[in-house]
């Protein structure tokens, strides 16, 4: 069953995979050309794992495309236990995702090594002093910044894999568990917008801002989605404008490995639990 699913998922994803390979080739040419012209090499950067994360989140669309998920399509009428079958399809997609990621990471490593970038070395970064915030437009006083040495963190090489896995589990649960994906996406967003609008109309600032607060926490909170996808390096890493007019990369705070581990366990665990429930919707109809 798993073998058949590995085959069918590979066949179903061959064109997107070919497109992705093409994209990588183009990127390689561009990066190498830049480097040859004397620009600096590229560093390994956990922010890049947002790509695997997004790929993982969207991959289920390709994995389930053309399947009559809530009907009586071929997948459900084959002579195997249906929940196990659904999970086998998900697992097959995951296996190919990890393989593709391994290739992606190897490509990235090769590129970093080729261009002499920073692979796993220490980094010296500028961090916003605690207790201060970035002014609008990212303006910052030099006194607010402190220079610290960010120690090498080999564990960050795992981030793409965990990010993709967690996102894929969530995406798969969504694809498998929800009959009308668009409605379930647009509905809650509209609901949040509505709450916000009602709050604004009622003059309640708290209510008006609550939805964006919820989204903010969900996406960029300490254990938010971004922590799963990029170990928070995406949301914490920004650029600031010094009074001199120079633009410098600045960290709002240093990423915390513990937060990343916790967020990964939280989101992946939740995703897997949701996936189990979603697959159970398609299980054998045993008599109660």
């Amino acid at each position: 069953m798993l073998r058949a699913q590995l085959r069918v998922v590979l066949l179903a994803l061959r064109w997107p995979a070919a497109a992705a390979a093409g994209l990588l080739a183009v990127t390689t040419v561009m990066v190498v050309a830049e480097w040859a012209r004397g620009r600096g090499g590229i560093d390994f950067n956990p922010e890049l794992s947002i790509i695997p994360g997004v790929v993982g989140l969207l991959l289920p669309i390709g994995v389930w495309r053309g399947e009559d998920r809530f009907g009586d399509g071929l997948l459900w009428t084959l002579p195997v236990d249906r929940r196990a079958h659904a999970l086998a399809r998900v697992a097959a997609g995951w296996a190919w995702l990890l393989l593709a990621l391994a290739v992606f990471q190897a490509w990235l490593l090769a590129l970093v090594l080729l261009t002499g970038g920073n692979v796993l070395g220490d980094q010296v970064v500028q961090v916003l002093a605690s207790g201060t915030t970035l002014a609008p437009m990212g303006a910052v006083e030099p006194s607010q910044l402190r220079t610290v040495r960010l120690p090498a963190e080999p564990a960050l090489w795992l981030v793409p894999f965990t990010a993709a896995t967690g996102a894929y589990a969530i995406g798969s649960a969504y694809a498998l568990g929800v009959r009308h994906p668009v409605r379930w996406l647009v509905g809650p967003l509209l609901a949040l917008l509505l709450v916000s609008a009602v709050g604004a109309a009622a003059g309640s600032r708290a209510l008006a801002l609550a939805p964006s607060g919820v989204l903010e926490t969900l996406m960029y909170g300490t254990y938010g989605f971004d922590t799963l996808l990029t170990a928070r390096s995406e949301s914490l890493h920004t650029v600031a404008r010094l009074p001199s007019g120079a633009v410098a990369p600045v960290w709002l705070a240093l990423p915390d490995l513990g937060h990343w581990v916790a967020a990964t366990l939280l989101w992946t665990g939740g995703g897997l639990a949701a996936l189990w429930l979603a697959a159970s919707r398609h299980g054998e109809r045993r008599r109660a």
Binding site: V8, A12, D68, G71, R285, R287
Partner: protein, 291 residues
């Protein structure tokens, strides 16, 4: 009264049977206490208007639907307890035309399905593909409705299952191909013992193939009988009414009983003409057939 109208087909030799099968969707009743009896080796035609419950019955037989009451059996296997085993015995053509993952070619999809079917007959699948003029290199997502249906037929037949569940098997096909498909089906039946349950709106084209008929109306199985019983018990009567006028009545029942019923109304039977299977089934489908 209901029981008297059902030919007693017994329970022992049924390849497909349901017992008190009931399914509701909210307030709507899709199936109400349905007791299908499809004898082994029969070609059983299930007729009913759209929404009469035919597809729901098929879905229940594949354990895709949890009944609110009753149970379904395929070759004696209770499908809710042994769904996968029951599905292993079944070739299914679904109502809808999505044959499978759209990115695959037909050939790839067939090989994929074959991996799940130990009884898959690759040589027969090739022959069917040729007979149905199905291009194995064509992408599933690019198939027309008719070609998707051909592919689904191939998927259902090529593993030579003992039971075929065909929901509108000729839907989307043009008339010449419909005939060819049914001839293929007849040939298929000659190759091995197979029980067929067909639901279709095109009763005429399967009326020589079918030897049993079940009629679903509003989720109820209002009639279930073999072909000969249908010919014998559903007829069009030309009657002379008490006032001397002549009228046509389609009536259900043994000729003697019908004559007695009509006599009680003061009408006299002038002629009793048999109906072709299609007309008989359609007559049973309409409410006004008096019993």
């Amino acid at each position: 009264m209901e029981g008297a109208m059902h030919a007693d087909l017994g329970d022992g030799a049924c390849a497909v049977a349901t017992h008190g099968l009931t399914k509701r969707y909210g307030d709507a009743t899709a199936l109400a206490d349905v007791a299908l009896r499809v004898p082994t080796g029969a070609v059983y035609l299930l007729v009913g208007a759209n929404g009469a419950g035919k597809s729901t019955a098929f879905r229940a037989l594949l354990n895709l639907e949890r009944p609110d009451a009753g149970r379904a059996e395929v070759l004696g296997l209770d499908v809710s307890a042994r769904g996968p085993e029951a599905r292993a015995q079944v070739g299914y053509v679904p109502d809808r035309h999505d044959a499978g993952p759209r990115a695959l070619t037909c050939g790839e999809l067939l090989r994929y399905a074959a991996a799940y079917r130990p009884t898959w007959d690759a040589a027969y699948a090739d022959r069917l593909a040729r007979a149905l003029a199905l291009d194995p290199a064509k992408r599933v997502g690019a198939l027309s409705k008719g070609n998707a249906r051909r592919l689904q037929l191939l998927l259902a037949l090529a593993h030579r299952p003992p039971v075929l569940l065909l929901d509108e098997p000729t839907d989307g096909l043009d008339p010449l191909v419909r005939r060819a498909v049914l001839a293929l089906l007849a040939e298929h039946l000659a190759d091995g013992p197979t029980t067929v349950l067909i639901a279709t709106h095109h009763v005429a084209e399967v009326e020589s193939l079918a030897d049993h008929v079940g009629v679903l109306r509003g989720g109820r199985l209002v009639a279930q009988l073999d072909r000969d019983a249908l010919h014998r018990t559903v007829r069009r009567y030309r009657v002379r009414l008490a006032d001397g006028r002549e009228a046509q009545r389609t009536m259900r029942g043994e000729a003697r009983d019908v004559a007695a019923v009509l006599a009680a109304e003061g009408a006299e039977v002038r002629e009793a003409a048999p109906l072709r299977l299609e007309d008989g089934a359609l007559a049973l489908l309409q409410e006004e057939v008096p019993a």
